[in-house]
């Protein structure tokens, strides 16, 4: 294994006392592209939240870059990893440019009154193809546009380690491909990426490793070509699947069979 980014040892975590993830262990090497898949409530988002320090860990240990996660201050952590979470609730009427400048927050000094000046902001905006949106308000963007803006903000903060919670769940195909292609390009240039995904095809197409979760424990874990099979998926989702190959990319591609949930 290459230099470990994460070492996760018997991690248990959840919300208000209820354990969702139960003694999960795995390591993440530098440069991996890991997709977490599994049914609703299996613990995909919970793992993302627990290893990013957003929720407390009930038991077990999370080492990030060789150091215990609890030992990091929030600001130090923000410099080393960036996170894309869905933003819920009342969203303030900030311009895209302003929102992107929040990616520089962990680097800024307290007595600083100019934002949106850093050249990295424009660089990442053009990398994510959102330069034409810079003056718009984030409240008037489509879901796909907002997701690109969010990813761009995350990249402005840090490009080494990216954690994403269902980044493409409610996007149309074009935006889904756009977002995943950006992640894939980042991964090729060395970024470590961990994302929770709903769609097995997206996971199989883009990731170097798939970790499947069911009822808070790891169901299977490995390279997509090796772990994606009809038996594995029907065990994971309690439904029948038919597996094939994407004729263009040669990656596994799966077809859920209607009327087969059990």
């Amino acid at each position: 294994m290459k230099e470990p980014v994460f070492l996760i040892d018997s991690l248990s975590a959840g919300y208000s006392g209820k354990t969702v993830v139960k003694t999960v262990s795995f390591g993440v090497g530098r440069g991996e592209f890991i997709s977490l898949i599994g049914p609703n409530g299996a613990g995909k988002s919970t793992i993302i939240k627990a290893i990013s320090g957003s929720i407390p860990v009930y038991s077990g240990r999370v080492l990030f870059l060789g150091r215990k996660l609890d030992d990091y201050r929030k600001r130090e952590l923000a410099v080393e990893m960036s996170i894309v979470n869905p933003i819920t609730g009342e969203i303030p009427d900030f311009s895209v440019k302003m929102f992107l400048s929040f990616g520089r927050f962990p680097f800024r000094k307290l007595f600083s009154f100019d934002n949106a000046k850093d050249p990295i902001i424009d660089e990442m905006a053009s990398r994510c193809g959102i330069v034409h949106l810079l003056e718009r308000s984030i409240t008037e963007l489509s879901a796909g546009e907002f997701q690109l803006v969010q990813i761009s903000r995350a990249l402005i903060q840090n490009r080494d380690v990216l954690l994403l919670d269902e980044p493409v769940s409610n996007l149309d195909y074009r935006h889904m491909i756009q977002v995943m292609d950006i992640l894939s390009a980042l991964n090729r240039s060395g970024s470590t990426i961990i994302c929770a995904l709903h769609d097995v095809n997206t996971a199989a197409e883009y990731s170097s490793r798939i970790i499947a979760l069911k009822d808070g424990v790891i169901n299977f874990d490995g390279v997509p070509e090796k772990v994606i099979s009809e038996e594995a998926l029907s065990g994971l989702y309690d439904s029948k699947f038919f597996c094939g190959k994407n004729p263009v990319t040669g990656r596994p591609s799966v077809y859920p069979v209607p009327g087969s949930s059990f």
């Binding site: 929030k74 800024r108 903060q157």
Partner: protein
Amino acid sequence: MKKIYIYIIPALLLIISIIIGLCAGSEFINPLGIAENIINRTGSLNTEIMLKIRFPRIMAAAFVGAALSVSGAVFQSIFRNPLADPFITGVSGGASLGISAAVIFSLGPLTTIFFSFTGSIAAIVILYLLSYGRGFGGGMFILAGVALSFIFSSSVMLLFSVAESQSVHKAIIWMMGDLSSSGDVSQGVVSALIFLIALLLWIYHAHINIISLGKSFSGSAGLSDSELRIILILASILSALSVILGGIIPFVGLMIPHLVRLISGHDNRRLIPLSAIGGASFLIISDALSRSLIFPYEIPVGVITGFTGGIFFLFFVIRNRQVY
């Protein structure tokens, strides 16, 4: 160019309000005559009234209005709720309970200030634990705030019912929103503190912007829980200071940030200073009205802001009825 206008127009508004505040009252004083008197250094009764009586009161109104609006703007951002303000959060209620206790037991000014801080911070701590700690929704937040306000105001009533009538009268007048006791020694101290804390909150504008996108966002962007708590406590102390100086003056902290946002947008770098100017102007004018509407009586300024703010609030609810 546009940027400069955003500050110049409110600054002009503030200057005009100060002039109106100086002239209006039981007797209208012509501002030009006064300017002449000051320039020629010829004293007159009118100059005395303006400088020794009306000016300190205008200053009190300005600082109270600014404190209420800035803390309202900060609460609205932090709790991500357009209805959050010093009153709905129960923070003013906590402060007024502290002050009522101090007034009724005739404690000194410093103790009064300390009691008011304690009350307001207690309120925000309870609200924080009830809401933020549990990933709350907006409805839950408002209900908790209203419950707190009722508990505090009942406690104030309890104090009144067992206290001597002399001190109760004083406290009741003050609770209606009273700027007339301004000119005390403590006015200078409290005003200086208001300025300082508002300035600190302005320095924290980027933090507040980030919190306004929610706790999970702000955490991942590098903002620590302790920074969040410091900002909440500063905003609560600011509300408490406004209560010390002006009593209970409702709706300013709710209404002014909403109006200011129409020109400043949601960026707290602009919202905080413009809310301060807007709140100061609004309360100076309200106070001028309270002194001159029903001569020779003086209406408590809280009544004026209660009317205007209440009507604004109704419009706000109607406009956003699909949301609530």
